[in-house]
């Protein structure tokens, strides 16, 4: 097919380009905008996609900025296909930019396949329910908000909190009990700073994880609009590794808030009617086409587990981004500034955190038979402890009943011994559960209504 080139760009606004006099253009097609002598060293090339097409007019959204382009000299080509990523097992160990071009000085990837980055929706009838426990070695996650293979579990955080450290720790320590399988990490950075990206790269290098990692880096000074493609490119690579190569892939997406901002930018440039806080009404659908690409497929070996990191503006979890994310993902791990200020790492706010798939991933033959009881009891006791502490703030410690005082103390030791752990401390699930029993023993047995007698007898005595 001969590719036609047009010189009829009639307008530009932010990342949007209007072209006239076109013919035979398809919706969603990829375009190239070029400026300068064709093939020359100074030739500028930008890519974008068709957002709206009528008989002779096209609206194009660029993935890179429109800076430096002009109306009368820029040439635009319609390539007749969607945005594609060249995939191959050789991607492991490599670093790419946000559009999938190598930036580590290595050679281009020789494509085994070229895949459309938008993917297709997994048939719900083809999915397999995630139920394999992933041990992260972090008690607050393993014990309370268990991560399972194929889950999407975001970390809701705020600026200045140690989410990167936690994500790196999970990446280092995550393993499936009693199994040795092919494992890969995909890291997609959207609009984060060089230091943050560098932290991850160094951490991966130090632990050797880089060998089985693929990195897609869009830094804060890279074009914002490119961020719309970055997570999709990363997930296309993930799908290839998981479902064609049979690997278990952990995808870290950071920071989804920057992605949302880019989405808003395009929507505003298109003059669409905004929903909440200027974000487009279709943001839920758009986010779901990213998050829903996690999962397992019946009869396929691999899996995709997602840990998106999302910084909440003003630590507000009702902000549209964390809010819509929470409605799609299978739970959330929320970091608390207050805990962090008290010197607790990881500062995971236990009560509002949640793993929806926990029930299916724990228990006998998966973790331990007492796991469900212990978790439920820890939640209830910690909640009561926190409530009592609030009461004590108003009425004074002296006004508390003796039992309430025990709960107040329990909340403290729970935070300091169970939640808190070192950045390089890798606790097995048995250790986490035994520790939990040790802490629960400080409370009177009749107050522990959520643990069954048989479990208490068996594990309470154990140190």
């Amino acid at each position: 097919m001969k590719v036609k080139e047009y010189r009829t760009i009639s307008g530009m606004a932010g990342p949007l380009i209007f072209v006239e006099g076109t013919e035979g253009v398809k919706y969603g097609e990829i375009v190239e905008v070029r400026l300068g002598i064709a093939g020359g060293s100074k030739e500028k090339v930008r890519t974008g996609k068709v957002l709206e097409v009528t008989e002779d007019k096209v609206l194009v959204q660029l993935f890179e900025g429109s800076a430096g382009l002009n109306l009368n000299e820029s040439r635009i080509r319609f390539l007749g296909k969607g945005v594609e990523l060249a995939v191959s097992p050789d991607m492991l160990g490599r670093i790419f930019d946000g559009m999938g071009k190598p930036i580590d000085g290595g050679p281009e990837i020789i494509a085994e396949k070229k895949l459309d980055i938008n993917g297709e929706s997994i048939n719900p009838a083809a999915r397999n329910y995630p139920n394999e426990f992933i041990q992260t070695g972090v008690s607050a996650i393993d014990g309370m908000n268990t991560l399972v293979r194929g889950q999407k579990l975001p970390i809701f955080t705020g600026s200045g909190l140690p989410h990167n450290e936690l994500a790196a720790q999970i990446t280092r320590q995550a393993k499936i009990l009693g199994k040795d399988e092919k494992f890969a990490v995909i890291f997609a950075a959207m609009g984060i700073t060089f230091e943050e990206a560098d932290y991850f790269i160094n951490d991966f290098k130090k632990t050797g994880a880089i060998e089985r990692a693929v990195l897609f880096i869009n830094l804060a000074n890279d074009p914002a609009i490119e961020r719309l493609a970055t997570p999709r490119i990363a997930l296309t690579a993930a799908e290839y590794l998981a479902f064609s190569q049979g690997m278990h892939v952990l995808v870290i997406l950071t920071d989804m808030t920057n992605y949302g901002e880019a989405l808003r930018e395009v929507s505003a440039a298109r003059k669409e009617i905004p929903a909440r806080r200027g974000y487009p009404g279709y943001m839920y659908t758009d986010l779901s086409t990213i998050y829903e690409r996690a999962g397992r497929i019946r009869g396929k070996k691999g899996s995709i587990t997602q840990i998106p990191i999302l910084s909440m503006p003003e630590d507000d979890k009702t902000h549209p981004l964390p809010d819509l994310t929470g409605y799609i993902t299978e739970g959330q791990v929320i970091l608390s500034r207050e805990l962090y200020h008290r010197g607790i790492y990881p500062p995971i706010d236990i009560l509002p955190s949640l793993s929806r798939l926990k029930e299916k991933g724990i228990g006998r033959e998966k973790t331990r038979e007492d796991h469900a009881d212990v978790t439920s009891q820890l939640f209830a006791s910690y909640a009561r402890g926190k409530e009592v502490k609030e009461l004590a703030v108003i009425l004074g410690e002296a006004a508390l009943s003796p039992v309430d005082k025990l709960f107040s103390r329990f909340a403290d030791i729970y935070e300091n011994e169970f939640v808190k752990q070192a950045e390089d401390e890798n606790r097995s699930i048995e250790n986490s559960l035994d520790l939990a029993w040790k802490l629960l023993k400080t409370l009177p047995r009749q107050e522990l209504k959520r643990v069954k007698d048989a479990m208490a007898e068996k594990y309470m005595g154990k140190e």
Binding site: G119, A125, A126, E330, F379
Partner: protein, 595 residues
Amino acid sequence: MKIKGKIMKVSGPLVVATDLPGVKMYEVVRVGEEGLIGEVVELKGDHVSIQVYEETTGIGPGEIVVATGQPLSVELGPGLVTSIYDGIQRPLEIIKQKVGDYITRGIDLPKINREKKWKFVPQAKKGEKVNAGDVLGEVKETELVMHKIMVPPGVEGTIKNIFEGEFTVEDTIAELSVEGEKQIKKLCMLQHWPVRQARPYRKKLTLEEPLITGTRVIDTFFPIAKGGTACIPGPFGSGKTVVLHQLAKWSDADIIVYVGCGERGNEMTDVLLEFPALKDPLTGESLIKRTILIANTSNMPVAAREASIYTGITLAEYFRDMGYRVALMADSTSRWAEALREMSGRLEEMPGEEGYPAYLASRIASFYERAGKVTCLGSDQRIASLSIVGAVSPPGGDLADPVVQNTLRIVKVFWGLEDRLAYMRHFPAINWLRSYSLYVDNISEYMEKEVAPDFIKMRDEALKILQKVANLEEIVRLVGLEALSSGDRLILEMGKTIKEDFLHQHAFDEVDTYTSLKKQYRMLKIIMKLYYFVQELLDKIPFEQLMELKVREEISKMKFIKEKELNRFEEIEKELEKEIKMKKESLEKESVLSE
């Protein structure tokens, strides 16, 4: 002859076409070379706006659009139950077998299996005169569902022939001679119905019976009637989906239609994998055998999400027309409203609140109004019901959201989920102060007759205690527990017992997941009995001593008593009486001694 037009504009799921003279609103059209399924949503001069139910990437101006002359319809007949469909009734299990793990577009498969043969047993006889809704015969679709083949609405005549035997859905099973028509009308099991049009019935009736769900906070405190409507709004993580799953599992309905509208793919998988293994408490058969699933997950095309709600309700109405008690769960209606909003935005309509179209309220109202208890068409005057439970996912859990507010104006039951309860892992996290049910009066007669004469009275008393607790907690927060009288402290303590030992229910515990009405009554009764006994002794015995009753431990475990062992409650009751008696006796002794 089919009308063919061409595409002028493509913008996401919205396609504008021209040269389609005579095309009707809500008519189905096939778009582009691949024949994507779309529906006409706006006519303006010769411009036709079409919402396309599949991904439109790669479609461009100039391609053809073919009008089908038909509105968006569902196929009805044996083979629906146990199926999983997408929003426009495409069979997902078959798509998986045909094209693999991902949903590719342009797939056109029969919605109901054409090859499978069903054993048709006639009920009507040759020579009989039949009207719309009359039952021609039956097909045993699953162990739980006897599928009734009815004369479709708008048809009547005299049966010339009716056949018994094994037939596919397209084979003729009966022949009617219609008055004034020469040609004989052939009827097969397969029927069609447009989704946006409610199926007809004879008459709507007053609701009297509860839909028994096995969830205590619902059945006892905020019941929904069979044929009623309920909504369950809550922020993420508050357990909407678990409540809906529980309802789908244990409700005493004959047919369950579960619509996953713009929600998580894994949740539908959960239902698909879990339901076959679960047993219906009444019949002992697998729960999937009475269930139809509609799955249009969040990453599937947005226009089909808008249609999924209608597809679901039409299937539900079809089974209602057979005389069954049907319950439909929709998770979540907010996603449906968002799909409306997205299409409305692309049509450049004037937005109402929060960008939602101005017709949001009327769409929600007309959807919920399709629920009800009715006398069906057909000469046997069978009575059936269709109940609707819709989840709502307001942004930030804010109940001022237009979807919540418009839903509350129409539904009669409100189960308000609260994240504070969810954080304490108190499930179901239904707030007992904010929630309400307007069906209590409707069903009180049934409850008093079928369960116990004092059921409603006790429920009211218990609710009163919970109300008082809320007020007292305020006071405690200000002045401390010591300032309360022992009567108030008893109320606080009883509130705690009701919350922990009655309202709190484990969805994942084998026994606790379902509680029959009888058991609910006995549980609440023991708690209330304890309350009355202790109240009597309050001014004679110190409060702390009264709270040390050993039977309280038994009470805290009564939710785990199996349905088959309900006589255990009598033992607990006896023990309670014994302990109270002992307290009384020792009191008398003391008073004798002190004299």
